[in-house]
């Protein structure tokens, strides 16, 4: 665990840097708030409506497919590490079955036109 403690120290340093500089910079910079400055930028037009608009469903669909593939990729890591120490013929056969099953799902998504951006 000691090694991860080292990383924690480093990460705390990484947090302290941006927070520290922004705080220090606060005494250097001037601040004149103004409604026009606080308006969100829309290429010079007067902004209208809420910015949290409804967006394309495609983003959700890609996130879902990603999640499926990523969870399945997680299973590949322990296999990859142990591959050299397993009986190679069997381990290879198993991974081919696994990858083919993944690819069937991927191919199904393609045929359903999920992978093409509309």
């Amino acid at each position: 665990m000691g090694k991860y403690l080292d990383i924690l120290v480093f990460v705390i340093g990484g947090i302290a840097f941006p927070v520290g500089v922004v705080t220090l910079g606060g005494s250097l910079r001037r601040s004149y708030p103004d409604p026009a400055k606080e308006a969100s930028y829309e290429s010079g037009e007067t902004p209208f409506g809420d910015a949290r608009i409804r967006f394309h469903i495609g983003y959700y669909i890609f996130a879902l497919i990603y999640l499926v593939f990523d969870v399945e990729a997680v299973f590949l890591y322990p296999w990859a590490v142990q591959y050299l120490h397993l009986s190679r013929g069997i381990a290879f056969g198993e991974i081919v079955v696994f990858v083919v099953m993944l690819l069937i799902g991927w191919f199904y998504a393609w045929r359903k036109k999920v992978l093409s951006w509309m």
């Binding site: 941006p18 500089v21 910079g25 606060g26 001037r30 902004p47 809420d50």
Partner: protein
């Protein structure tokens, strides 16, 4: 290992990374300039070398604006998240075997856990949060669209990138970056059997860093600046720093996994300088690509990732495991 010792090393690494950021940024502007037949920055200091200092002072003094409807907490937290995640990923990157300074033996990384590569991948995934939270919290349409694009793009290319990394893990049979490099010293470089994996990693790393031609998240022609439209001053600088530190991590990872790490070519010894030279080449590749290719359209980007890189990644995995099953290097 006392706490102070780790602290000193952490501070040294952060300072090194941020100095490298400053100068790689000038270098990039120079390189882009020369590609476009102009000089790049030349006014500040000799040959423009004091430009980063001027930029830093300017950034510190810029007014820190916040759009009226923004989510205050997330708006302030997002740039810091982006930066500390990028820095944290570099903590486990070994820059060389060990350094000998007098009687002192120093490992050249802040930490070297047994499964370094997993840690890097995990933190790179968290890196999406900085971008997506920043864009969402801004209460700006450009920012929201930019962050959505960035999120979808990063998860898509992460998959292909992960496949390339898994092929390297199969090849070396370990998750430890030091062991991977020492195996490449004994045998051939990883890129020789795993050339396809290296190619996928190269493309995936450009996309992961949101850089041209995959910089749809920023796309200044259509989204002004994408997820960081509303950021100014030092918070904006944090996003830029995070982008460059991510580039360093990616270039180091590419060199360690596929290009023999700190081993020189043709048995020319091994030192930190070889790794730095490889990273520099990799960074130059980032700049070269940026100045050569036009930006992709969003549907091209997604279909390139999902219909080409992902199946190629799986195929490559099958090829590498065949290679290892047939004897490989062992």
């Amino acid at each position: 290992m006392s706490l102070g010792y780790v602290l000193v090393r952490s501070v040294i690494l952060v300072v090194l990374l941020l100095t490298a950021f400053a100068y790689v940024m000038v270098l990039e502007r120079k390189v882009l300039g020369y590609f476009q037949l102009r000089w790049g920055p030349v006014r500040v200091g000799p040959w423009g070398m004091l430009q980063p200092l001027a930029d830093a002072i300017k950034m510190m003094n810029k007014e820190d604006t916040r759009p009226a409807g923004a989510d205050t907490l997330l708006f302030y937290v997002a740039p810091a998240v982006a930066l500390f995640v990028a820095l944290g990923a570099f903590a486990v990157i070994p820059l060389g075997p060990v350094a000998h300074i007098g009687s002192l033996v120093l490992p050249l990384s802040v930490a070297h856990p047994a499964s370094g590569i997993l840690f890097v991948l995990a933190l790179l995934s968290v890196g999406v949060y900085g971008v997506s939270l920043g864009g969402w919290a801004s209460q700006s349409k450009y920012a929201l669209l930019g962050s959505l694009r960035a999120t979808a793009q990063m998860v898509s290319y992460e998959l292909a990138l992960g496949m390339a990394v898994i092929s390297a893990v199969v090849l070396y049979g370990t998750l430890n970056l030091n062991t991977m490099v020492s195996m490449q010293g004994v045998h051939l470089w990883g890129a020789i059997p795993d050339i396809l994996g290296f190619a996928i990693f190269l493309v995936g790393s450009v996309a992961e860093c949101n850089r041209a031609p995959f910089d749809l998240a920023e796309a200044e022609g259509e989204l002004v600046a994408g997820f960081h439209v509303e950021y100014s001053g030092f918070r904006f600088a944090n996003f830029v720093m995070a982008e460059y530190v991510n580039m360093f991590t990616m270039s180091a990872l590419g060199a360690l996994l596929f290009l023999g790490g700190w081993h020189g070519p043709f048995g020319l010894g091994s030192s930190v300088w070889w790794l730095l030279a490889k990273m520099a080449l990799y960074l130059f590749f980032f700049m070269w690509v940026r100045s050569t290719f036009p930006r992709l359209r969003y549907d091209q980007l997604m279909s390139f990732g999902w219909k080409l890189l992902v199946p190629l990644g799986f195929l490559n995995l099958v090829w590498i495991s065949t290679f290892v099953a047939l004897g490989g290097w062992h």
